[in-house]
């Protein structure tokens, strides 16, 4: 067998860790294969990516056992400069891997490092830009590019080196739906060109369209390895291991377990339409849906004619009108730069309207201090690192309360309560920056929640998190909503929106193009398409099976809506 990569009894332990990050990993990747790697956060996926590209052990201190062969060459004994000619790596953050000042320079950078003649460089740059469809961006600055475009530039910079293997470590985690589809379209092209691809991703539905094989990395070991269809047939186990199987698999799993059938697991919508036996809509649910009912409660947030222009002249919001009532669960969705974050920053007073009015709890934000608003509205950032600045977990939670002037005993009580609520009890004295990403995200929520806000705004609660972490945060928000707290989430994850939110606001180019309840919103795919939003896979499957059926939001709803003929 002709292998591009071989990992033999490989183990790796970082110098600062006592635990092995990878343990006895054995893996062979065929030339031209698309290998997907899934697993919960902290499973060792990124460490494996660094090992496959030689960055471990060449750039990182630690202890190694076994070996990794890149096209037959041992990464331990081969100079890194030789390995990088054979294998490239694209990281999660499009910002930090962009080194130079223009797209063209970025693609030229590795070629200049190789010392290639100028004419060869020009030819390779043009080819790489064509392959990744970024030719029109040649002269652009990094800050002029979207996240998806930056990731395509990162891919192009490695394609120009013409490596046989490309490793991508969560390349679409930070991207909006359009950016994700752009990157996956490029990957499809690279796969068609016969290159070997190894992709770490949480988005299993998209992976299944391209992957030849999937492995599950769990606690540093390969726990499962199979073709997508076989791999995702273990729905229950995968969920326990922190992986979201595609919703079509979950549906078949529910069908099999509740009807005693043994249906083959599809992994994509197309496969589902082919493999599923005849299914009909239950008469009891063959009814249309109703739109969003008028709110009877008073609005706690009232926005009228809101326009906002940044100092550089960018018009971010263009005539927003929105009411949010007590106890609502609202999802704000849309492309990057559609104005979502700018809008929620107006709710907490971080930005003030250029035109129009924003009233929060009956008071204009123009006349209210941000620190005053902060006691009633909590705002959790996408990246918890931007929000955590104290040494210990306890100090982090106590910080806001100290600013409010509360007494030491009251602070202690409140901090203990909130830490128990987010599952961080016993972590009081733990160093904030030693927590895992999921724990840091929960701590960021706790630090806002401890101030007792009536409204919680959470920006991208699921980015870069595995299924269990996402569900942990969403479960917490659900429980807060049951206590009549108002929840606003800003997200690209439509599955979370369908399963948790009750109302959706879709934004595009600074305007609200749709404001409806979740079911009604997802029943308007053509309107959503304008904003590059694709409804959850299960919603699409239901529509495919019966366009007249009610809009389905979850796998359970799918089962209660359809039955086998």
């Amino acid at each position: 067998m002709d292998y591009a990569l071989q990992v033999e009894n490989f183990s790796w332990r970082y110098a600062i860790n006592e635990r092995w990050s990878l343990e006895n990993v054995n893996l062979s990747v065929r030339r031209g294969e698309f290998l997907a790697i899934v697993g919960p956060s902290g499973a060792g996926k990124s460490t494996l990516c660094l090992s496959l590209t030689g960055l471990i052990p060449h750039l990182t201190r630690g202890t190694i056992k076994g070996r990794v062969l890149v096209e037959g060459q041992d990464t331990f004994t081969t100079p890194l400069s030789q390995i990088t000619r054979k294998v490239g790596i694209v990281f999660q953050d499009p910002e930090s891997q962009f080194i130079t000042m223009s797209v063209e320079d970025e693609i030229a950078f590795p070629l200049e490092n190789l010392g290639l003649p100028r004419q060869v460089m020009i030819e390779r740059i043009n080819n790489a830009m064509d392959e990744t469809r970024i030719s029109e961006l040649k002269e652009k600055y990094p800050h002029e590019l979207s996240g998806g475009q930056k990731q395509r530039v990162a891919i192009a910079s490695f394609l120009a080196l013409r490596p046989d293997i490309l490793v991508l470590d969560e390349p679409t985690s930070d991207l909006d739906p359009l950016g994700k589809s752009e990157v996956f379209a490029v990957l499809a092209g690279i796969k068609a060109a016969g290159k070997t691809l190894i992709v770490v991703e949480h988005n299993t539905e998209e992976l299944c369209k391209y992957a030849d094989r999937i492995i599950l990395l769990y606690e540093g070991r390969i726990r499962r390895e199979d073709t997508p269809a076989q791999f995702f047939s273990e729905v229950r186990s995968l969920r326990e291991e922190g992986v979201y199987p595609p919703q079509v698999c979950e549906f078949v799993h529910v069908l099999n377990s509740r009807t005693g059938r043994n249906l083959t697991y599809p992994t994509t919508l197309e496969e589902a339409s082919r493999l599923l036996p005849p299914i009909k809509t239950k008469d009891s649910v063959r009814s249309g849906h109703v739109g969003r009912s008028a709110q009877v409660a008073d609005a706690i947030v009232s926005i009228r004619g809101l326009k906002f222009t940044y100092p550089d002249g960018t018009r971010a919001l263009d005539g927003i009108g929105l009411d949010i009532c007590q106890g609502e669960y609202l999802a704000i969705i849309g492309q990057n730069a559609s104005g979502k974050t700018t809008l929620v920053k107006h709710l907490v007073g971080l930005l003030k309207p250029t035109e129009g009015d924003v009233k929060v709890f009956g008071k204009s934000t123009l006349k209210t201090k941000t620190t005053e608003l902060a006691t009633r509205i909590g705002y959790v950032y996408q990246n918890p690192d931007h929000q955590l600045f104290c040494k210990t977990v306890y100090e982090e939670c106590a910080y806001g309360l100290q600013n409010l002037g509360l007494g030491a005993e009251e602070i202690r009580t409140k901090v203990r309560e909130v830490l128990a609520r987010v599952g961080l009890e016993g972590f009081d004295e733990t160093d904030t920056f030693l927590l895992g990403k999921g724990q840091r995200q929960r701590l960021a929520v706790a630090a806002s929640l401890v101030m007792g806000p009536e409204v919680m705004i959470v920006d991208e609660p699921s980015t870069g998190q595995d299924m269990k972490q996402s569900e942990g945060i969403m479960g917490l928000l659900d429980s807060l909503n049951r206590e009549a707290k108002t929840i606003v989430i800003v997200t690209h994850n439509m599955r979370l929106v369908a399963e948790h939110a009750k109302r959706v606001v879709v934004m595009m180019r600074g305007k609200i193009i749709l404001d409806d309840d979740v079911r009604s919103a997802f029943s308007q795919p053509s309107l959503l398409k304008e904003a590059y939003i694709v409804p959850p896979q299960i919603t699409q499957l239901a529509r495919m099976l019966d366009p007249q059926a009610r809009t389905v939001l979850t796998t359970d709803e799918m089962f209660s809506t359809f039955e086998l003929e």
Binding site: L55, H58, L59, L80, S81, T84, R85, G88, I89, F91, D93, E95, S96, Q97, F98, I99, T100, M101, S102, E104, D105, A108, F109, P110, L111, E112, N113, L114, G115, L116, P117, R118, M121, I125, Y141, H143, A154, F158, K345, V348, L350, T371, A374, G378, Y379, Y381, N383, D385, H386, Q387, F389, C390, K391, Y399, G400, N403, L404, F433, S448, M451
Partner: protein
């Protein structure tokens, strides 16, 4: 225009403004900069914040000379108990100094408005400055923008937790900003790690010989203009310090 004469122009304007002390040449210098603004098609709308800076700086200069200087003249308008006074020469000198700082600010603004950070990087490459220095500058430009965004985010997060950056003693405020920097250091370290990996994965090495995509050719016009600017600075220096033509009228002072 090639970045080299642009960098030279920035230095020339500031050096000429520094050497000169005569009011009339300052009027000419400001007029020349204004013409350059028009030639460079610099949008006037973007200059409002610089006008604010010029006004604030002018006020500071005027106040400091009006209250704290003792420049002899034919007439003394005000005498202060602390020994300083205002004469007609005080007013002229203060106005000259205002023009000095105005021309420096406007000149720098002109260059900033017409020169990108990319121009500066390419300009350095033209001068055969070692690649590593150019790369360090590039990374500095890249990370400054990202750092400022991170700074804003962390600061906003602290405001949302009740931090008031505008109240309290200097020690209290310093402590608050120290919190901001704790976060920033952690974020920066994570970014640096990933940037290092990306650079190494792209075959970066200081030891190896590299080639370059861009040819940084410099035209004779650019060289001529740069030479003219250097000559102008030297000429102004000689006129000021050797021939005393550009010295402030009446210097050295005789009380």
């Amino acid at each position: 225009m090639h970045p080299l004469p642009k960098i030279a122009l920035l230095l020339a304007i500031n050096l000429v403004a520094l050497f000169n002390e005569s009011p009339v040449p300052f009027v000419l210098l400001i007029a020349l900069i204004a013409v350059a603004f028009m030639i460079g098609k610099v949008p006037v709308t973007g200059l409002s914040k610089f006008v604010v800076v010029v006004i604030i700086a002018s006020q500071a200069v005027l106040i400091s000379y009006l209250l704290g200087s003792a420049i002899p003249g034919k007439s003394v308008y005000i005498r202060y108990p602390w020994g300083t006074y205002v004469s007609e020469m005080t007013l002229l000198y203060a106005a000259t100094m205002v023009m000095r700082y105005t021309s420096m600010l406007l000149g720098s603004t002109l260059i900033l408005a017409t020169t990108s950070d990319r121009d500066i990087i390419y300009g350095f490459a033209t001068l055969r400055v070692p690649f590593t220095i150019g790369l360090m500058l590039t990374l500095a430009f890249r990370t400054t923008t990202i750092f400022m965004e991170d700074f804003q985010k962390v600061r906003d997060a602290m405001i949302l937790r009740g931090t008031n950056f505008f109240e309290g003693s200097i020690a209290t405020r310093t402590k608050r900003y120290a919190h901001v920097f704790t976060s920033l250091v952690v974020i920066a370290l994570r970014r640096v790690m990933e940037t290092t990996y990306a650079m190494e994965a792209k075959g970066f090495s200081l030891a190896k010989k590299r080639t370059y995509l861009h040819r940084y050719d410099i035209g004779t016009g650019d060289i001529g203009l740069t030479a003219f600017l250097i000559f102008s600075v030297v000429a102004v220096y000689l006129l000021r310090y050797h021939f005393r033509v550009l010295a402030f009228p009446g210097w050295p002072l005789r009380s």
